[in-house]
Amino acid sequence: MAGSIPASRTGSPAAGAFAGAPPTAARRKSSSLTAEAWRRFRRHRLALFGSVVLVLMVLAVLTGPLVYRVPIDEIDFKAKLKAPSWAHPLGTDDLGQDVLARMLYGGRISLAVGLSAMLIAIIAGTAVGAVAGFTGGYVDHALMRVTDLFLSLPGLPLLLLIVYLFRDGLKKTLGPEIGVFVLIVAVIGGLRWMPVARLVRAQFLSLREKEFVEAARGLGAAPLRQVLRHILPNSVGPVIVAGTIDVAAAIIAESSLSFLGLGFPPDIPTWGRILFDAKDNLDFAPHWALFPGTAIFLTVLSINYIGDGLRDALDPRKVL
């Protein structure tokens, strides 16, 4: 890369000099790869901020329902569509249900969908990319055509089609909650593995020819060992970055689906689902839509900033 201008503005030396104590030469020498990555990540103040926000979010949805013990489905018509007050910190919806309690509960699902879909995308993408990049030739060609094909599938319409066709079947076999969860996670993950596969393949193509892999090959390492011990650990950086962005994309995909009324059923109030219920009452109960919307926005923003910071930390190449 001919570039001398880092892609991210916070990657500039000027910004770095302000954050934290400048590491001394001695300390830098003794630091491990992970410590080095952490040092670079710390420089990205917004990424650090994003991590704090995300950790707070996760803590809130994990411990929130234990501390804030208002039931999510307590219907109280006397208190319907109330603005935030002491009794209901984030107001109530059209059935008088507490928005904060619903958001804390639904946030678990939203975040869980994001993480699980990301794992599926990463595992599938890494597998396809690794096989394509390591084997090369005919297999590589075929797998890359499949990847290109998947890249030109229209994501959300296809997601809607699959959910429409398979929802009832899975609901019957796995129960409404788990059935929809499995379906949504599998489909979102299954439609997002392609960028990871391309990244991993590119990494494998170049690492395969590196001296240390050749040395391993010369020492008689089996192909599987070459991949697992030598190539894969070295190509993990870009995958982590892509995975981070995938979490955000999966959260948006799930929210979009629920927002269209085709995701989770109303008794599982994910953030998108709350927005769907709230969108027709914007004129007299704006709080009902604003809080879950802001939650989605903040989560996605933090994850994107973390991804940006991780890119600076792990992926020395300049990617978008």
Binding site: A2, G3, S4, I5, A7, R9, S12, A14, R145, D148, L149, L151, S152, L153, P154, G155, L156, P157, L158, L160, L161, I162, Y164, L165, F166, D168, G169, A248, I252, S255, S256, F259, L260, G261, L262, G272, L275, K279, L282, D283, P286, A289, L290, G293, I296, F297, V300, L301, N304, Y305, D308, K318, L320
Partner: protein, 319 residues
């Protein structure tokens, strides 16, 4: 150039066939039977149902069913809507222009915002303007369209009461007034979609210009005394657009996702809202056809990107 074009067009046929294969497999794998309703309807005797199955070839081998389905899709014979009682292709053709108009204007708006801002940011990296622009792009890129749409409605329709938040196809005015009403109701959907597109395109544009601006031929252009404006416009931007075109083409599926959502929020009568209402009404032929149309549009936009590519970088089309 003609040969290049021809090759590109020919390449997109197998892609379309591949997409249709994926769609058909999904449909074939799905549990449930399109004739389920007939099976549970006591007024339809089983013989009639069997005859219908045979007539539609539902018991044929899957490869034959796929071939038959694909050829009829290509011929424009898309079936009959269960709910609206009209042919699917007519239903879709009624709605398609609105969607294309909204997506097209949004994309145009996005480009009009993204190219100048991206170029200006990249020519002054880390300046105050660049910092603001990059941050805004990051925020816009993280704001999902369904939330921006609601915020726009809240602010422009409910709080300020400037713009209507329901898109109407039947405006009773005529002449200038008709045009004005149409533009007024299209502002919010186009702006929501266009700003979302603009935020990611700005990022692409900025980094592409940053890549190009330090190349040797740019320094040469400057050294021979070209005005900075000319250097940027004629030497930098054109070459920076090449990767941007690819990225924008890769983003096309995202635009459709955004269009689906904005159509739903603002009740724009396009194919996106038709898709949602068909799903809610279990109208399978329409759902399949719309998904197919969306796939066709993705392939079409990729083709357009390829053609733009050949125009931006003549070397590509001579290969």
């Amino acid at each position: 150039m003609t040969k290049y074009l021809l090759r590109r067009v020919l390449i997109s046929i197998p892609v379309l066939a591949g997409i249709s294969l994926v769609l058909f497999t999904i449909l074939a794998l799905a549990p449930g039977d399109p004739f389920e309703e007939l099976a549970t309807n006591p007024n339809v005797p089983p013989e009639v149902r069997m005859n219908l199955r045979a007539q539609f070839g539902l018991d044929d081998p899957i490869a034959i069913r796929y071939l038959r389905w694909f050829t009829s899709m290509m011929k424009g014979d898309w079936g009959f809507s269960f709910v609206s009682r009209v042919n699917v292709d007519r239903l879709i053709l009624q709605r398609l222009p609105t969607t294309i108009l909204v997506i097209g204007s949004a994309q145009l708006l996005g480009l009009l915002i993204a190219i100048p801002i991206g170029v200006y940011s990249a020519t002054r990296p880390y300046s105050f303007f660049d910092q603001v622009a990059t941050t805004c792009a990051f925020l816009g890129f993280s704001l999902p369209t369904f939330f921006t749409g609601l915020l726009f409605i809240l602010f422009f329709s409910i709080y300020l009461d400037w713009l209507p938040f329901i898109y109407r196809a039947d405006i009773s005015a005529s002449g200038w007034r008709w045009w004005w009403e149409h533009i007024r109701q299209a502002i919010m959907p186009v702006a929501v979609l266009g700003l979302f597109q603009a935020s990611s395109m700005t990022r692409f544009m900025r980094s592409a210009v940053l890549d190009v601006i330090q190349l040797d031929y740019v320094r040469t252009a400057r050294a021979k005394g070209l005005a900075e404006r000319v250097t940027i416009a004629r030497h930098v931007v054109r070459n920076a657009l090449i990767p941007v075109v690819t990225l924008v083409a890769l983003q096309v599926p995202t635009i459709f996702a955004g269009a689906l959502i904005t159509e739903q929020i603002f009740r724009v009568p396009g194919i996106g809202s038709l898709l949602i209402s068909s799903i809610l009404a279990n109208d399978t032929p329409v759902i399949m056809a719309i998904t197919f149309v969306f796939s066709g549009l993705v392939v079409l936009f990729n083709l357009i990107a390829d053609i733009l590519y050949g125009w931006l970088d003549p070397r590509i089309s001579y290969r």
